[in-house]
Amino acid sequence: MLPIRVMCSGRISPHFILKAFQEGADGVLIAGCHIGSCHYGKGNYITANRVAVMKDLLGFVGLSPQRIRLEWIATSESNKFANVISEFTKEITQLGPSPMRKVSWNRKAERVMEPLVLQP
């Protein structure tokens, strides 16, 4: 597990989630403050909206949406934090490694890059 601290769950751009998967993450857990207690007003609302769309998109391209989890965990809920993480890691272990790990540079793309050999 690699924790990345941000000021607000609203700071988590959807591009960060995609980048994490590209770098070989098997799952991404987003933990934010409870709805209604956002210091910045509506940071967690926007996160909830983004994650919902992101799950749909990832499901469509064949990455299981269970690999993203959004959970509201407040500062004082350390027990919940520990429980959620162990639960989530168990779930991810059952799912197995992310298929994205197997994607090396695609052969087809390499074929496009092959230098053009002119016939005499």
Binding site: H15, D56, A109
Partner: protein, 268 residues
């Protein structure tokens, strides 16, 4: 199209608009042209079979002449893109005058267009909207692994030409996520697969007007439109928001949004 031509000539003669952006033939190909007097309007053509990203050219013209009122000939999809550009402050609603033309049924069917006509049309028969999501259900019915394989194979063909972005009438940012060195390595081939396409797909979620120019522009035939149609559909299902429909409604994924507080599937 004579009635529309007369209306355009009237608008130009009365000084209501300084110019009208439309298409005319050049060496047998339709190209965009800014008609500035009613005499030149005789060259104006409507391409019945192809489309052109005309609103992207309008942005450039408007940047050069911000105080002029410019007319533009729009189809249904271009009308939607105008609304999205107004929303994102790329064009000013008072400085642009849309002149609607209809698409024929054949083009509407080919485009799977759910609204093949703009809000105001001068003449012509309105084509019936086509509600066809068979392209999405076809992929959704595949098992997960095959779906992933399908997309990776398609994405692997990408030659990183940025054609889908450049042609897109909803893409206008001066700094692009797809050129951000921390996300996508500059230069170098092939692009980061699959997130190169997914970055753009997510961006299109509350913006895509479903015109399909991206897929037509792609030289490698990657079905990127399916991705954008999917996110457009999920935004519609989750938030009941349709991009390009209402000028006053803001997208649910914009950070500042419309100031309301709602959760997916709960609010609105």
């Amino acid at each position: 199209m004579e009635k529309t031509r007369e209306k355009m000539a009237r608008m130009l003669d009365e000084g209501f608009v300084s110019g009208i952006l439309g298409l005319r033939l050049s060496h047998g190909h339709p190209v965009p042209y800014l008609f500035t007097d009613s005499v030149s309007l005789k060259d104006w053509v409507v391409d019945e079979t192809n489309r052109y990203p005309i609103t992207k050219i309008l942005i450039q013209i408007w940047k050069k002449h911000p105080n002029k009122v410019i007319g533009v000939v729009v189809r249904g999809c271009e009308g939607r893109s105008l609304i999205e550009l107004f929303k994102n402050h790329q064009l000013h609603p008072e400085k642009v005058k849309g002149i609607g033309i209809v698409c024929n049924q054949e083009l509407a069917k080919r485009c799977r267009c759910d609204r093949p006509y703009p809000s105001e049309v001068e003449e012509g028969e309105l084509a019936k909207p086509v509600e066809d999501f068979s392209d999405l259900t076809e992929i959704e019915s595949l098992p997960e692994e095959e779906r992933f394989k399908y997309w990776i194979e398609k994405f692997g063909e990408c030659i990183k030409c940025y054609g889908c972005r450049n042609v897109c009438p909803a893409c206008f940012c001066t700094t692009c996520t797809l050129e951000d060195p921390s996300l996508i390595k500059p230069g170098g081939m092939p692009p980061e697969i699959p997130i190169f396409h997914l970055h753009k797909a997510f961006h299109m979620a509350d913006r895509c007007i479903d015109c399909g120019l991206c897929e037509e522009a792609c030289p490698m035939g990657i079905p990127v439109r399916k991705l954008y149609r999917k996110v457009r559909k999920s935004v519609k299902d989750l938030f009941h928001y349709i991009p390009g429909e209402d000028k006053d409604l803001k997208g649910p994924l914009e950070f500042l949004g419309d100031g309301s507080y709602e959760l997916p599937g709960v609010g609105r």
